[in-house]
C-alpha cells in the first residue's frame, strides 16, 4: 500500500535507468543519508563511534571493493588483506616522506599502489579460476605479509616494525574527534559507493557479470576477458586500498603488518557472502553484520548464560563466536546463497504487494 509504484510511469530511458527508480526508495535513501550525516553525530556515543560506526563505515567500503571482484566479476579472492595493506603502507609512505602531503591525496595514492599490486596479482585470473585463483590470491596475501614485515624501507626503517600517523587534517580542519573521523570516512564511502554503482549498472558492470556467468560466451560476443578481469581487479583493489588506508590512519592510528593478515581477508569474504554477492547493498549489510556480531555476542551470551545461572569467560565467548560464524556461513550458503541482500529484496517485494499476499 505504501510501497506501490502505481502511477510512477517512466517516459524516458534515462528515468527508467536511474539508480532508484521508485520514488519511495529515493525518499528512503535521502532520509537514511540525513540520519547518517546529521542525526548520528548528535545521537551516538563515543563508544558507538569507535567500536561500531567507524569500523563499519570503513569495512563497508572494503566490502564494496571485494564485492566488485568476487560478487560482480566472479573472481574469488582471498588476498583482500594484502590490498588493504598495500593501500595503507602506500598512503603512509606518501604521507610521511613527501613534505606537507595532504591526507586525501595520500590515501588516493595508496589506493593507486593497491591498484598496481592488484593488477599484477590479478594476472593469474587470465589463466585459472575458482580454487586455483584463490591460491594465487593467497600468494599475494603472504607475499604482502612478508614484504611489510621484512623489507624495512616500507616502514621507514623503524626498529619495532610498527608505524603510526598523527595530526590528520582535512582542508585545515583537524580530524581528531570521533565525529569528524566518522564524517570523513562516511563521505568517502558515499562518493565511492555512488561511483561504484554507476560502474556496475553501466557497460563495464555488464562485462563483469558476463565474465562471472559464462566467460567463454562472453568472449564470443566481443567482450575481452583480459580487460574485464583486470579492470575488476584494478577497481576493486583501488577501493580496498583506500579502505586500508582509512583503516590504518583513522581507525588504528598505529599499526603493524599483522593488522592486514589472512584473517582480514577471510573476514571480508564472509561479509560479502553473508551480505550478498553481486549487490552494492550487500556489502553494507554484511559489514554491519560482521562488525556488530562480536559485540552483540559479547553482551548477549554472558547475559543469556546469566539467566541460566552460568558464568562464562571471554574465551568461551570467542570460541562461540567462531562456531556461530562458521555455522552462519554454512547456513547462509544452504538457505540463501544470495545473502542478506536477497532477504532485503524479498522483504521489499512483500512490501510492494502489501496488504495483499501476492
Amino acid at each position: 500500500m505504501f510501497y506501490r509504484e502505481n502511477g510512477q510511469f517512466k517516459t524516458s530511458y534515462q528515468a527508467d535507468q536511474q539508480i532508484f527508480p521508485i520514488a519511495q526508495d529515493r525518499v528512503f535513501v535521502l532520509l537514511l543519508l540525513l540520519v547518517a550525516f546529521v542525526g548520528v553525530p548528535f545521537l551516538a556515543s563515543d563508544y558507538m563511534f569507535r567500536a561500531i560506526l567507524i569500523p563499519f563505515v570503513i569495512m563497508a567500503l572494503a566490502a564494496l571493493g571485494v564485492n566488485i571482484l568476487v560478487g560482480y566479476c566472479g573472481q574469488i579472492s582471498l588476498g583482500s588483506g594484502a590490498f588493504m595493506a598495500v593501500g595503507a603502507y602506500g598512503a603512509y609512505n606518501f604521507f610521511a616522506r613527501v613534505p606537507d602531503m595532504p591526507l586525501l591525496p595520500a590515501l588516493i595514492m595508496g589506493g593507486l599502489c593497491a591498484t598496481a599490486f592488484g593488477i599484477l596479482f590479478g594476472l593469474p585470473s587470465l589463466r585459472v579460476r575458482g580454487l586455483y585463483l584463490a591460491v594465487a590470491t593467497l600468494a599475494a596475501q603472504f607475499f604482502s605479509d612478508w614484504m611489510f614485515l621484512r623489507v624495512k624501507w616500507f616502514t621507514l626503517d623503524t626498529p619495532s616494525g610498527s608505524v603510526s600517523v598523527s595530526n590528520l587534517q582535512m582542508f585545515g580542519f583537524p580530524l581528531d574527534s570521533d565525529v569528524s573521523k566518522y564524517l570523513f570516512c562516511l563521505s568517502l564511502l558515499v562518493v565511492i559507493a555512488l561511483m561504484a554503482k554507476n560502474l556496475v549498472r553501466g557497460a563495464i558492470g555488464r562485462e563483469w557479470m558476463a565474465i562471472r556467468d559464462m566467460d567463454v560466451a562472453a568472449a564470443v560476443i566481443g567482450i575481452r576477458p583480459m580487460y574485464a578481469k583486470l579492470s575488476a581487479f584494478a577497481v576493486s583493489s583501488f577501493i580496498i586500498g583506500v579502505a586500508g588506508g582509512l583503516w590504518a590512519f583513522i581507525y588504528l592510528g598505529s599499526w603493524e603488518p599483522s593488522a592486514f593478515s589472512v584473517d582480514q581477508s577471510f573476514r571480508l569474504l564472509f561479509m560479502v557472502i553473508i551480505g550478498g554477492l553481486g549487490s552494492i547493498m550487500g556489502g553494507f549489510l554484511g559489514a554491519a553484520f560482521i562488525v556488530v556480531l562480536p559485540i552483540f555476542l559479547n553482551q548477549f551470551l554472558p547475559m543469556l548464560a546469566g539467566l541460566a545461572g552460568v558464568e562464562i569467560s571471554t574465551t568461551v565467548v570467542s570460541h562461540a563466536e567462531l562456531m556461530i560464524f562458521g555455522a552462519l556461513i554454512v547456513w547462509f550458503l544452504i538457505v540463501e546463497p544470495h545473502g542478506l541482500a536477497k532477504l532485503w529484496a524479498m522483504g521489499k517485494q512483500k512490501m510492494r504487494v502489501w496488504p495483499f499476499p501476492y
Binding site: V128, V135, F142, R150, L269, A320, I324, G326, I329, I334
Partner: protein, 309 residues
C-alpha cells in the same frame, strides 16, 4: 656439502609432513570434487581429541602404560572423526549437492571456523602435548661417508616413514578393495556412479572418514613435533600449494609436491634468505604455486582442465 645434505634431508622430512595434510585434500577432492578448506581444522580437531583423550584415559581407567593409552586415545579420536565426518555429510554436503565449486569451497571455510571453535570449546585451548614415544634427539649418521656425520632428526625420519606407510595403505585401498573402486568411480563421474547403484551419500561419508583419519595421523605427528595448539589449523594454508604443484587429483602428486615444497622452502630460506631479509618461508611455497598456475595449472600429475561450451 654435508650442510647442504642436512638441509635437504630436513626439507624432505618437512615436505613429508605437508604431504600428510595434502593427502586429505586430494582424497576428498578426488571423490567428491569438493575442495575441503576445513582439512586444517580437522587436523587440529583430531589432534586436540587425541591429546586430551590421552590425558583423560589414565584418569578414568587407571591405565598408565603409554603405548596402550596412546592406542586407546587414537581409536577414540578416530571415532570422533567418524562422527564429525558423518555430521558434515548429513548437515552440510547433502544440502549443497548441486551447487557450484565456489559455494562448496566457502561452505568448507564455514565448517573450518566451526570446527576450530568447537574443538577448543570441548577440548580446551592451551597447548597440549602428544607423546607417542618419538625419539626427540637428533642422531649423527653416515659418519664414515662425511666428516663429522650428518645431523638427522629421528622424529622427522619416523614421521616420514609413517607417512609413506599411510600412502601405501591408501593406494592399496583404492586399487584393491571394492570400496576403493567405488570411490574411484564416484571421482570420475557422480551421475554415472549413481546410475550403477553406488550410494553417493555413503561414499562421501566414507571418504570424509578416511580424510578424518588422515587428519588424525597428520595431527598426531605434527602435534608430537610442535605441540597441539591453535596454529595447527593454519597448516591447511601451508599445504595448499602442495596440491597445486602435485595436482588436485593425484595421491602421488601430493607426496611429490610436498617433498618439492619442503625442500624448496628449506633450501631457499638457508641459501637465499640472508640476501632479502629472511623469512622467505612465508611466501616461497605460494609463489612457486603461482608460477605453476601460470604455466601448468593442473600441476605435475593432475588431469587437464577442459572448458566445454
Amino acid at each position: 656439502m654435508a650442510f647442504f645434505l642436512e638441509t635437504l634431508f630436513g626439507g624432505l622430512m618437512a615436505g613429508m609432513l605437508y604431504s600428510l595434510v595434502a593427502l586429505g585434500f586430494v582424497l576428498i577432492y578426488k571423490a567428491s570434487g569438493v575442495f575441503n578448506f576445513a582439512q586444517g581444522a580437522m587436523v587440529l580437531f583430531a589432534a586436540l581429541a587425541m591429546a586430551r583423550f590421552a590425558e583423560w584415559v589414565p584418569l578414568f581407567t587407571g591405565l598408565s602404560q603409554p603405548v596402550l593409552v596412546n592406542l586407546i586415545a587414537f581409536v577414540l579420536a578416530g571415532g570422533v572423526m567418524f562422527i564429525v565426518a558423518w555430521l558434515i555429510e548429513r548437515l552440510v554436503l547433502r544440502r549443497l549437492v548441486n551447487q557450484e565449486g565456489t559455494t562448496l569451497l566457502m561452505a568448507t571455510l564455514g565448517i573450518a571456523y566451526f570446527l576450530e571453535g568447537l574443538g577448543q570449546s570441548i577440548f580446551g585451548n592451551d597447548i597440549y602435548k602428544i607423546d607417542i614415544g618419538m625419539p626427540k634427539d637428533p642422531v649423527m649418521a653416515f659418519e664414515n661417508v662425511f666428516q663429522g656425520g650428518l645431523l638427522i632428526n629421528q622424529e622427522d625420519l619416523i614421521a616420514a616413514l609413517i607417512a609413506a606407510l599411510l600412502v601405501a595403505l591408501l593406494s592399496l585401498f583404492f586399487q584393491k578393495t571394492s570400496t576403493g573402486r567405488a570411490l574411484r568411480a564416484v571421482a570420475d563421474d557422480h551421475q554415472a556412479a549413481q546410475s550403477i547403484g553406488i550410494p553417493l551419500n555413503h561414499i562421501w561419508v566414507i571418504v570424509w572418514c578416511v580424510a578424518g583419519v588422515v587428519a588424525l595421523v597428520a595431527g598426531m605427528i605434527w602435534g608430537s613435533k610442535l605441540g597441539v595448539q591453535f596454529s595447527l589449523a593454519t597448516i591447511a594454508l601451508r599445504a595448499l600449494p602442495v596440491v597445486i604443484l602435485g595436482g588436485l587429483t593425484s595421491v602421488p602428486g601430493a607426496i611429490i609436491g610436498g617433498l618439492i615444497i619442503g625442500v624448496g622452502e628449506k633450501l631457499s630460506e638457508v641459501f637465499l634468505g640472508p640476501y632479502v631479509g629472511g623469512g622467505i618461508e612465508i611466501w616461497f611455497a605460494y609463489v612457486l604455486a603461482l608460477l605453476f598456475l601460470l604455466v601448468r595449472p593442473q600441476g605435475l600429475f593432475g588431469e587437464k582442465i577442459i572448458d566445454r561450451v
